[in-house]
């Protein structure tokens, strides 16, 4: 009897185990729970979202397309290992699904590093909805605007770094450190929008080539910050320098780069043509690799062309988003001012004009004290910045003093510019006023919650800069 019971017990346990394994196996092969190997997934580096004229979404997925050299090196970092695919649909998930159908693989968004928004994207609601609900998208994904279409940016093939999304991410990280960009992770955008009067700031990514054309118009905003230009940098040359350099590099590159440009511009044309017929024709839409051939060739031709490709992007200014709609554009200087006021800056090169020449000085934040007080029905926010200045060793004490004064004045002015632009003109709480009010004056915070714009109108931000050598 006892034996029987033991046998029965063992039998039932074994049956359960076997059934369990079978059920695991069955769900493994087919249906919703089918397991896909990594090579059956589209590893998406970056998502580009544009709006078509008829209000549809055009989604571009930049994905891994390895270009190896031999069986032992499946990925050759000297070649662009990415390709992109675009599709148009009424919603973002539908467009992604079309991309999936085109390639016969499932998109894996868990590794996407940024979402790029084309300049014609005017309502961010569906985009935030998508980003928060799509499977696998990280909270730390970067979201930024471009001044062209996202597709155009994502189609650029770079020859240094494995793929352009990686380079873009690095550019963002570096820019946040030196204050030329605000933090643009998805979660920070959500946080800002929820807490403030629905305001957040998204940096703008630009292509160098476009900049060349329009650099005459905005000398001011072009950078002291020089991506990848360290070799011949005397740093007192401003935007003209950039222009000259890019021209000279163009000269040195001679024909190869111009060829690549041509071919890439051709590809753009072809892709724009394909947009029209994309919903039907598979080939034109799924592989817009036109530029890559030229890019590759020029990459192998000489190092200089690589440099040109690396500096294909830069961050210039940002868009103020209010109520999930783009409101206005902030310049690069205004963003630096914002960074000084909000997060502090690890290091920022400021060029102080001394006589006819510019003298560089490295400025970093040391401390930030903020006080909130109410005077005459006005909310006074006093920000006391303590900054450190690092000079060249060759500067004399007198020079240092003058440079400090000049640089401080510069920072003061850009900070004020930011305040005027964001707070006075746009009524945008990008200075963490909500948090300051919450921590200092709760009744005012409650009012702010009810009517933020009314409170923001009453806010005055006063800056005091305390240089520390």
């Amino acid at each position: 009897m006892k034996q029987n019971r033991i046998i029965l017990k063992r039998f039932s346990i074994i049956t359960i185990c076997v059934l369990f394994i079978f059920s695991l196996c069955s769900c493994n092969s087919t249906g919703r729970y089918a397991k896909r190997d990594i090579d059956e997934k589209i590893i998406v580096h970056a998502l580009g979202i544009d709006m078509t004229k008829d209000g549809k979404f055009e989604v571009t997925l930049q994905m891994l397309a390895q270009q190896g050299s031999g069986s032992n090196t499946p990925i050759d970092p000297s070649k662009p290992n990415s390709a992109s695919v675009s599709q148009i649909a009424d919603t973002i998930p539908a467009a992604i699904e079309r991309c999936e159908t085109d390639l016969g693989k499932k998109a894996f968004l868990g590794h996407s590093e940024l979402i790029l928004l084309g300049k014609n994207v005017e309502d961010l609601n569906p985009i935030f909805d998508f980003a928060l609900n799509a499977e696998g998208i990280s909270l730390g994904i970067f979201m930024a605007y471009t001044d062209v279409t996202a597709k155009e940016i994502l189609n650029i093939k770079i020859t240094s770094g494995t793929y352009s999304a990686e380079v873009l991410k690095e550019i963002f990280e570096e820019s946040v450190k030196n204050g030329t960009s605000t933090e643009c992770e998805l979660i920070r955008h959500i946080d800002n929008i929820e807490n403030t009067n629905g305001v957040t700031v998204m940096p703008i990514i630009k292509k160098i080539k476009d900049d060349k054309k329009s650099s005459d118009e905005k000398e001011n905003s072009s950078s002291e910050e020089n991506f990848g230009e360290s070799k011949s940098d005397d740093s007192n040359v401003k935007s003209e320098n950039e222009k000259v350099k890019s021209e000279s590099s163009e000269d040195s590159q001679s024909e190869s780069s111009s060829k690549s440009e041509e071919s890439s511009s051709k590809s753009e044309e072809s892709s724009s043509k394909s947009e029209e017929s994309s919903s039907k024709s598979e080939e034109s839409s799924s592989k817009s690799e036109g530029g890559s051939g030229g890019g590759e060739e020029s990459g192998s031709g000489g190092g200089s062309s690589e440099e040109a490709e690396v500096t294909a992007f830069y961050i210039d200014g940002a868009v103020i988003i209010k109520n999930k709609k783009p409101q206005s554009v902030m310049t690069r200087d205004e963003i630096i001012g914002l960074s000084f006021l909000n997060n502090g800056i690890a290091e920022q090169e400021i060029d102080a004009k001394l006589g006819d020449t510019f003298k560089p000085v490295n400025v970093g934040s040391v401390k930030k004290d903020t006080k909130v007080s109410i005077k005459n029905n006005r909310v006074a926010v006093d920000i006391n910045l303590t900054l450190s200045y690092e000079f060249y060793k060759s500067y004399s004490e007198k020079e240092k003093k003058i440079i400090t004064a000049k640089a401080t004045e510069h920072i003061y002015s850009i900070c004020n510019k930011t305040i005027t632009k964001a707070l006075k003109e746009e009524k945008a709480d990008i200075f963490e006023i909500h948090s300051l009010l919450n921590h200092n004056d709760y009744t005012l915070y409650e009012e702010y919650k009810k009517n933020p714009d009314a409170i923001l109108e009453r806010v005055d931000i006063n800056i005091k800069i305390d240089p520390q050598n």
């Binding site: 499977e135 909270l139 959500i190």
Partner: protein, 352 residues
Amino acid sequence: MRKISFGQMITILFLSRIFYAMTFIPFMYSDVTCQVIGFSISTAIECLAVIPVIILYKKHPDKNLCQVAYEKSKIFGILICVAFAFAAVLVINRLLRYFGYFMYVTFPDFLPSWIVIGAIAIISFYAAFQGIEAIARSAGIAFGFFVLSFIIVTAALWTKMSFTNVIYNYPSIKHISHEVFNELSKFTELLLFPILYPYIKEKAGKSIYAALALKLIFVYLITSICVLTLGSYLNISKFPFFDLGTYAETFLIERLDAFLLPAWILIAFIKTALFMLIAKIALSTGFKKVKSNVFLLIISVAAFAASLAAVLQEKWSYSVLDKTVIMILILILGVVLPLVYCFGKGDENETE
């Protein structure tokens, strides 16, 4: 009989509680300030609520609550044993549903929910089958794993924490009371402790207070890390602590969310095993003639079947069953009953 140490008892009680804290705290759509106050008040109430059981332990250190009840009155004792088993089934059922929901939301298209909860039920059954010592020893390692995961996540997010994310709100009594009620319905230690105290070697009373203190510390820690890192994203985050994982990035691991998953599974299976075990102990106290492992099988199957029915319909939460009914059972079995046996007739009061 005295099998588990003071430290092991703390770990068991702590792990049986921390699952909810890890999964849901800070609760979505709920004000964090109220929650923090609610946690403190509920812990204070919990500290008071355990007093009767501790007095009962001092009076009958070798008999669990079911045995005490059974000896006083056989029929009532059996009723109490069944009530304990029922409460355990409810708790397991709730846990399996919540776990199924957690997996359903965080890893959709991964495995069918019924397999997920089935696997947890089977492994918990095996653990309960091996007895309290095996569970206690495993709990020690699961606790270590939890602390390690916690430290890694905190370290990875250290640079991303910011005080500007902290937004206070004036707490309202209505919200706080809601949080207190919510938190007290999770106070399942009061079901575990009266059954398990005969197994502890020393300092049984202190162990439950230590577990409560540890719980409060970790709840505060989890809440503060979530608030400091996620900010107002908490309002839309279903599983805040898990979402920390999707945000955290290390040089070795790109995202820590799946890395955190083992901590959840280990804690869920330990808790399920513990409640299966106490149901088995309770029932075998009431029905001495039947082999105790038969009860274990019945309890496991019953809890699994109940959860399965809910999970297959994708019904993850039953607010009356999960909160009110369990709360009432906790109150009756964990507070009122020990109180009756402590100060009932014919007992001499032993005080230490």
